[in-house]
Amino acid sequence: MGEENRKIAFICSKGNLDMAYPALVMGWAALGNGINVTIFFTFWGLDIINKARQDRLQLAPVANTSMKMSMMGLPTGNLGIPNLMGIVPGMTAFTSWFMKKKIEEVGAPPVDEYIQMLVDGGAQLFACKMTVDMMGLSMDNFVEGVQDIVTAGDFMDMTEGAQIVFI
């Protein structure tokens, strides 16, 4: 069982709904396989652990070339959501709602519950000091389970020997 000494670290730098999930899914899979997990939230990635933002992560259709109308069951082949439509008020709310529905359909929990599962499973979560200072945040802004606000250097020290995934 070589995995018992394996360490993996994720750097979450994006706060879009679709960019929150990769670390959550892979981190959870790693814990399930007995791999030590550390997650470092930086820049917009801090939204994933920010109490006020966590449930409000969104997915904008504008400039998202992968978002095809066929995802909604329309027989439109490779036609994307026209960018011009993406600027209509309510479109971002709509695509976010739609993606959340898709995520729920495969049995994956919402972001807050996922983070809680990771914490309960032993993942270590940290917030980036530079971003925290830049945005005027503090530990009070973060959900329970976030261990500390650390510098990039601290992160390097604590992930020695780990496989690092940047998202």
């Binding site: 069982m1 995995e3 018992e4 899914v25 959870w28 899979a29 814990l31 399930g32 396989n33 007995g34 791999i35 495969v106 049995g107 994956a108 929990p109 809680q116 599962m117 309960d120 499973g121 032993g122």
Partner: protein, 105 residues
Amino acid sequence: MTTKEFAGATMEVNEEGFLVDPQMWNKDIAVAIAKEEGIDELTEDHWKVIEFCRQSATDNGAAPTLRQITSGTGITTKELFKLYPKGPAKKVAKISGLGKPEGCV
């Protein structure tokens, strides 16, 4: 295919040590695999998880994921990771005589 002896019975196992045929499983084998996985004693809560997994695999044809186990048994994530430390997804499935869970959550 390799074979391995558990509780006096010779079993076919795959390269990761999972039983090939879930039908060959019994409680003595579970105890033997658990010992090998570092769990010396299977408590009532351990069995609750194992029985749920066996039932779920019979109903759905695959070992349940961790989230299905916690929502199906009422055992919390924290407790589950305490019962089966260091990799509950694989450990639970292996001790239950099933294949690896087919699902990500």
